[in-house]
Amino acid sequence: MSIVAYVSENREQILALVGQHLILFSVSIFFTVIIGLAVAIAASNEKRRDLGRIILTITAAAQAVPSIAVVALVFLIVGIGMRPAIIALFFYSLVPIVFNATSGLMSIDTKTIEAARGIGLTDRQILWNIKFPMASPVIMAGIRSAATINVGTATVAAVIGGGGLGDLIFIGLKLNKNYIILTGALLTALIAIIVDTFLAIMERRVTPKGLKLGR
């Protein structure tokens, strides 16, 4: 049986899995971005340079943790289903966002920040008017890599009953049917490419014009 024939025969079922996959992805990435940026803001405060360095070290190391380990750990604590899957994805994609956003916010020239403070910007104005726009390319790159990792890792969530396109891959493995595995894999890749392309465009759009000139 070909992939095309398989997909057209099982259209509704596959669409439902794509839908589940998108829910896994979008819900987890939504919370990851919000919590991740909040952690990064707290960690990058120049009055707490040590905290920032600790967070950077932890997140750099955490990038090496395999996705299946995170999924397994969450399974042990929270159990099975879509909710644990989302929690696992949340933690797993938190790492690149926190790492990039923290290092981006911390890398801004202290002279620039001092100039901002010296002409009378408050800490909050420095964060939103200076640090965030200047770090936006690095922050967006973190969100982008978190999102593509998230879409891929969401297939692993099927192991703990999270649903999504991972189901197709595992069914294919059990039945030893390559076209089912390929369908799951290709659709996942397709979503990842679409998400990545969209975020690449966003990345370019949020980068302030004045920063692009130097490259």
């Binding site: 020239d109 002279k111 620039t112 010296g118 009378g120 408050t122 004045g210 920063l211 000139l213 130097g214």
Partner: protein, 384 residues
């Protein structure tokens, strides 16, 4: 410029108003003493230079004035009011602050950079736009700069924008922390000249940190010399140059302080209008040569009928190569009437000339400066 209501409680000192007063200010970072029991009065409308080796406390002192750093002990007053009675953010918005070129926000265009403080204090956009235009004009940048970004500007242009940003809300006080530090020497000298001519118009109270003694002498009305957190000498530039307090100040000034002192003298006070031959482009070569031989001069200054300086006519060259028209060398070193004597002196040394033509706006010839007169200046300094 000064608003009398703001300075009513200022005691006058020798014709100048006290703008900023540091009263027994001490700053300790943990155990390290950065500034020790410092008292000084900064006069209104003057440029006060803080100078000393790195770690002497000059930058700490500057940053205490806008409360980027809070003093450990002592008090600082502006127009008689303690800065510790004011909100730090409001205080900073009322004081201009210029640092090295990195101080501009790279993600904002020139307009947005300059408009920053006026927007923070709630000016309406029309007023801001007019102010930005006015400031760009003041710092001699044209209107096309408003939409440029800092990375598109040269170092000197960035510094001009930085100055415009500091002046945006028309503060009484400007704090400048080595603003020209990252600029190459040629452009720095040009920026110094335009900075001084801007200050002539705006008459702000400026506190300026530098580690360059030449800059301090050239720009300062008064110089405060610091060492290990202490004020070693605080006086006007002349007194610093000719009456250094101790060996440390002498060393800081260098062996060539007489040459450095030339920066305070203006070319226009040393121009002579005799002792050279001036001819017009249209003059006949034979007549010119005759005139030069009469006066015993090898070279003549060639101008057009509007007194515009064109070049030099050299006698030897013309004898070898007789021509029906007056030919002259046009790549001649000249000096500007409003420049200082130190530059003229070093140009003379470089060019190996004992006399240089002086021009003013539009390259108009106004006379000559002789090395001899500069030397007399040195002699006078010795006698004093």
């Amino acid at each position: 410029m000064a608003d009398p209501s703001r300075i009513e409680n200022h005691p006058r000192i020798g014709g100048a108003y006290r703008m900023i007063e540091l009263k027994r200010v001490t700053k300790r970072f943990d155990k390290k003493l950065a500034v020790q029991d410092l008292s000084m009065t900064i006069e209104q409308g003057k440029i006060t230079m803080l100078i000393g080796p790195s770690g002497c406390g000059k930058t700490t002192t500057l940053k205490m004035i806008n409360r980027l750093i809070d003093a450990t002990e002592g008090d600082i007053t502006i127009s008689g009011r303690s800065i510790y009675d004011l909100d730090a953010v409001q205080l900073r918005r009322s004081i201009g602050y210029v640092i090295q070129e990195t101080g501009l926000f790279p993600h904002m265009d020139v307009f947005t950079n300059i408009a920053m403080v006026p927007r923070l204090i709630g000016w309406d956009e029309r007023k801001i736009k007019n102010r930005v235009d006015e400031l760009l004009h003041l710092v001699t940048l044209n209107g096309s700069y408003v939409h440029k970004y800092p990375l598109q500007l040269s170092g000197g242009e960035r510094q001009r924008v930085g100055l415009a940003r500091a002046l945006a809300a028309d503060p009484e006080i400007l704090l400048m922390d080595e603003p020209f530090g990252a600029i190459d020497p040629i452009n720095r000298s040009r920026l110094h000249d335009s900075f001084l001519s801007i200050q002539e118009k705006i008459e702000k109270t400026i506190v300026f940190v530098t580690h360059d003694i030449n800059e301090a002498i050239k720009l300062g009305d008064k110089i405060a010399i610091m060492q290990n957190g202490n004020l070693v000498q605080y006086d006007n530039v002349n007194n610093i140059l000719y009456e250094p307090e101790n060996k440390f100040v002498e060393k800081l000034l260098g062996h060539d302080r007489n040459i450095k002192a030339l920066v305070l003298k203006k070319n226009k006070d040393y121009i002579v209008t005799t002792g050279y031959v001036q001819v017009h482009k249209a003059d006949k070569p034979e007549a010119v040569i005759r005139k030069m031989e009469e006066k015993g001069k090898r070279v003549a200054i060639v101008t057009d009928s509007d007194e515009k300086f064109l070049g030099l006519f050299a006698l030897e060259k013309s004898r070898k190569d007789p021509q029906p028209h007056l030919s002259f060398i046009d790549n001649v070193v000249t000096v500007e009437k409003n420049n200082n004597l130190q530059e003229t002196f070093s140009l003379m040394i470089d060019a190996g000339e004992s006399s240089l033509p002086v021009v003013t706006e539009g390259n108009r010839f106004v006379g000559a400066i002789n090395l001899e007169d500069i030397f007399n200046e040195f002699k006078k300094a010795q006698e004093d």
